[in-house]
Amino acid sequence: MNSFTEYFRGIFSGIRSLLAGLSVTGKYFVKPGTTVTQQYPNNRKDLKMFDMFKGEVIMPHNEKNEHKCTGCGICEINCPNGSIEVISASIVSEEGKKQRIIDRHIYHLGMCTFCGLCVKTCPSQALAFGQEFEHAVFDRTKLTKVLNQPGSKIMKGVE
């Protein structure tokens, strides 16, 4: 007798648990506005990443085409996978002193793991993270970027 009642209790509690599950999916089926899908290429205009988002390493330039990089190479030393190469040159500054500047600050996006050590350790805050995330290209060599813009100079007062 005991097992008999257990048999039926099993059936009914089982059915109840199944109905509870159905109620959840049913609720979302009839409830409008719960869709969370973002339609990506269509919402490109109002898709804004967070300020902190690590999309790529950039070197901010001001409106006079000046950056803060002194070419010290600390970022290159700190990069764990060799995605930064600093090629420096030396010039004679206005005061007649020999000064080291960057010729090219090469950044291999394809090798970067976005650990943030270059940005963190840069003594003059010359590097930052950009929010661009659409990096797909057809040729891998295009992932190698030169961060300093052509003709740019070091900002005054940055040593």
């Binding site: 199944l18 509870a20 990443m49 902190m52 976005f114 650990c115 350790t121």
Partner: protein
């Protein structure tokens, strides 16, 4: 059924199938060579190494701050906690005491990491068992945590937010607000998970008494985390050897005695509640202070050996660093929980069905890159 399994069968009658390296239920490049007799599993032999990157070898040639970004890529669902393990080991070795702010923020982020990991577990576990809808609900809610991470840390899964001595940057002003929003939302949504899956009679029948590991076995095999606690093995590093801010919060260590797949699942579900409790205790009073201690530009650990264990979402992660005084470690060993959990898979699944093997594999919640390292 038991006797039939134990009876000696000539090898020709075994039906060997390869589950993986590309298989929907192995969650990565794990290959299981399964010997079957009918539907019954007789032997499971895991083959790993498909994603072995030699992280331990790589660590020997890079500096301590650079190790952090490699640990992200081991157990990518507990990335923040992995980072924390290395940072704590380095800080303890140098005798640096980080500020309270760092401790609290690390704890909150660790618990958020744990919740998102368990959410993904719930999602994929449901999918393993054939309930596809779970997958989308789990990911839908996980997205909120990933947004919090993205806003504060800059990365979604691979956060790289810790560094020896503190954090990479201060928390975002929205951090507290968003976290509280998430908690109040998730407190309402989590019971839905239970209604959809936990209470479901099919689900329970599929999991109860499947892949049973008792307490003695769990200790002998070194099973920690939710897998060990489902067997009644109290192994929570947060309780036994508290680190960061875990000594100043009250929380319950979830323990069950059954040790089957269902209770491994249940531990994770209950842990999400506990994690939310921990976060609520801390989120309103994050102490002021610096977000990072001043460190030397080149960190050199004094000669010696350092061991630090933390509780990741899957169990105890041990970091064993041997230093010879240089800026590079002499040897780094990661005691990864998934590697340990994979070993008794054969023991758990012998004599069960193929579908049970999938369920057991799912309930162990293996992350393959963490196994291979």
């Amino acid at each position: 059924m038991e006797e039939a399994v134990k009876a000696p069968v000539p090898e020709q009658e075994e039906y060997v199938i390869n589950m993986g390296p590309q298989h929907p239920s192995t969650h990565g490049v794990l290959r299981l060579v399964v010997s079957l007799r009918g539907e019954t599993v007789r032997n499971v032999e895991p083959h790993i190494g498909y994603i072995h990157r030699g992280i331990e070898k790589m660590c020997e040639s890079i500096t301590y701050p650079q190790i952090i970004h490699l640990t992200d890529r081991m157990d990518y669902l507990s990335a923040h906690i992995n980072n924390e393990a290395v940072c704590l080991a380095v800080e303890n070795a140098l005798g640096i005491e980080v500020s309270d702010r760092v401790k609290v923020v690390r704890t909150i982020l660790s618990e958020l990491t744990r919740i998102q990991s368990h959410q993904l577990f719930w999602a994929t576990f449901g999918m393993d068992l054939g309930g596809l809808t779970c997958f989308f609900y789990g990911l839908r809610d996980r997205e909120m945590i990933l947004d919090i991470f993205e806003e504060t840390c800059g990365g979604r899964m691979i956060v790289s937010y810790n560094c020896p001595g503190g954090l990479m940057n201060d928390i975002h002003p929205n951090f507290q607000k968003r976290t509280k929003e998430f908690i109040s939302y998730f407190r309402k949504t989590l019971p839905e998970y239970d209604r959809l899956l936990t209470g479901n009679v099919i689900f329970q029948e599929r999991l109860k008494n499947i892949g049973v590991v008792n307490r003695e076995q769990a200790i002998a095999w070194g099973l920690t985390g939710p897998v060990g606690r489902a067997s009644g093995f109290s192994c929570d590093v947060r309780k036994h050897n508290p680190y960061s801010a875990y000594d100043r919060v009250t929380f319950k260590e979830i323990l069950y005695d059954e040790g089957d797949s269902f209770h491994r699942y249940k531990v994770r579900m209950d842990e999400m509640w506990e994690s939310m409790n921990i976060i609520e205790q801390l989120i309103d009073n994050i102490p002021a202070g610096s977000y990072a201690e001043k460190m030397k530009p080149v960190i050199k650990l004094p000669e010696g050996e350092y061991y630090q264990s933390v509780e990741t979402a899957r169990g105890e992660l041990g970091v064993y660093i041997v230093s010879d005084g240089n800026k590079n470690p002499y040897r780094v060993k990661f005691r990864s929980p998934n590697f340990v959990h994979l070993a008794p898979l054969n023991l758990m699944s012998q004599g069960s069905k193929i579908a049970d093997l999938v369920a057991i594999n799912g309930s162990l919640d293996l992350i393959i890159p963490d196994i291979d390292r």
